[in-house]
Amino acid sequence: MLTLLGVAVIVLGFALRFNPLLVVIAAALTSGVAAGLTPLEVLAAFGKAFNTNRYVSVAWLVLPAIGVLERAGLKEQARKTIQSLRAATPGRILLAYLALRQVAAALGLTQVAGQAQTVRPLLAPMAEAAAEPLDDETRQRVRAMSAATDNVGLFFGEDIFLAIGSILLIVGFLDQSGITVEPLALSVWALPTAIAAFLIHGGRLLLFDRGLTKAEVQE
């Protein structure tokens, strides 16, 4: 039971907004020591896993390309493209992106878009441009909704693909428990949730537009 103190450290540390890197190490030490390891053993176990998980940070390799493009005016071009479309609203742009992201993820193309390579240089500037003129607070909301839409599209699309990690995990786990299921049977049952996610988040995006219009009218 004492090992759960590590979870408590995480919850408190994040809620009180301490630096998350320190919170993570403190949580690891707390749970590890509670489980009977020495602090040095915990640090070694942490270091080992830190080293094997370096691939998680490889995604940062896209930043130089995105940076050069921003330097050459990519964000400005994204805005111009949207401003030439009369019918564009933030909600409609994000709705179209949600559909694309879900379909691409369902085909297994989870890495073709992402927060660094798509949302920052393209999607967020486009959604902002469609909302203009906008105050700073609204700009922040539009950006946050852009990032959120990328996540929702990815999460509720990828499980339709047969060979995605989560499907393989389920197949392997059930196999160990003596139950055989085909990946196809699992991905079929991801469809109802995917459709519901599109309707619910899509509906929120259209309502998001209404909220923005009201704010402008009030000013």
């Binding site: 390891l37 896993a49 050459a72 852009s146 509720f156 389920i170």
Partner: protein, 318 residues
């Protein structure tokens, strides 16, 4: 064979360049903090396998201490002004999208074809890492292409990469740190303990209650661990298989598929899923670290309810 070591070498060189340029950046009052932070990250990529477990642990601790004691600033490499960017956008127009689209196209092409290439019968590329290698290659090509097409200075890609990296700051390291925390939690048996508690408080007498307990448990456990994959074996082994499938005869395919998706609702709600929820807030320069989670919360909660209803409606054929 081309595998992760080459990708790590590339990443290590990039972070080493960020460190060198940070140290020389007199505009940044905390330039040595930045240099030390990105420099240690470079060491991890270049020499991590030779440091030993404790060495890597000390390295991770040093990174956390640099960030946690406020030694990280934001570098200010010379970049183009907003006016220049407007002019450049007018000059190059839609061509600017081309290198940005090269990234997904090459990732797609690479992940489909690289696995099949072979040289003298040996695979040219590590098949398990095809997507990651494609991503690194695509990023490199896009950076060079952008530099040539839009006549940017030679140092532009590294300096601009550093500009963006400094904006992300410590959040860049958080996903990897959390993955390491997950491993320590696994050794300490944290997941197992939470699973046992969940099983004890799960009502066993009604079908709907068991379904709801499994879906909500998947979401709650994922919020605490930051990862639905960690929650799945514990909650499925503890609640879904004995109760929902065993006692109430639910279809295991439906139960597990929707159970995993209930976990994803938790992922949308937790700061521990840093690469999805906290890193974008840094990349988009949001004032509230948790703004992306707030934007996702209504969707996540509604989807969790939908998942409970769907599982209850679809998993029981009789």
């Amino acid at each position: 064979m081309i595998g992760l070591p080459l990708v790590y070498l590339l990443a290590g060189l990039m972070f080493a360049a960020f460190a060198g340029l940070s140290a020389a950046d007199r505009e940044n009052g905390k330039r040595f903090g930045n240099a030390a932070f990105w420099g240690l990250f470079a060491v991890s990529f270049l020499a991590g396998d030779r440091l030993g477990d404790l060495g890597n642990g000390i390295l991770a601790l040093a990174l956390a201490l640099i960030a946690g004691t406020g030694q990280l600033g934001v570098g200010a490499p010379k970049t183009t002004s907003p006016e220049t960017r407007e002019t450049l956008a007018a000059t190059y127009g839609a061509k600017l999208f081309a290198p940005a689209l090269v990234i997904p196209v090459l990732v797609l092409a690479g992940s489909l074809t690289l696995k099949r290439l072979s040289l003298h019968g040996a695979p040219l590329v590590d098949p398990k890492q095809a997507t990651l290698i494609s991503l690194a290659f695509a990023a490199l090509v896009a950076a060079i292409l952008a530099q040539l097409m839009f006549r940017q200075p030679a140092a532009a890609s590294v300096q601009e990469g550093r500009r963006l990296m400094d904006l992300v700051g410590w959040a860049a390291l958080l996903p990897q740190m959390l993955a390491a925390l997950g491993a320590v939690f696994a050794i300490a048996g944290v997941g197992k303990t939470i699973g046992e508690i969940a099983v004890q408080i799960t009502p066993v007498d009604s079908r709907f209650a068991a379904v709801a307990a499994y879906c909500l448990g998947m979401a709650a456990f994922t919020v605490m661990m930051g990862n639905a994959f960690a929650a799945f074996p514990v909650m499925t082994g503890g609640i879904a298989l004995p109760l929902v499938v065993g006692r109430f005869h639910g279809d295991p395919a439906v139960v597990c598929a929707i159970g995993m998706l209930s976990g994803f609702c938790g992922t949308l709600l937790t700061p521990l899923a840093a690469n999805f929820n906290l890193v974008p807030a840094a990349l988009l320069q949001l004032k509230d670290r948790y703004a992306v989670i707030r934007a996702q919360a209504p969707t996540a909660v509604l989807m969790l309810i939908v998942n409970v209803v769907l599982m209850n409606a679809l998993a029981f054929h009789r």
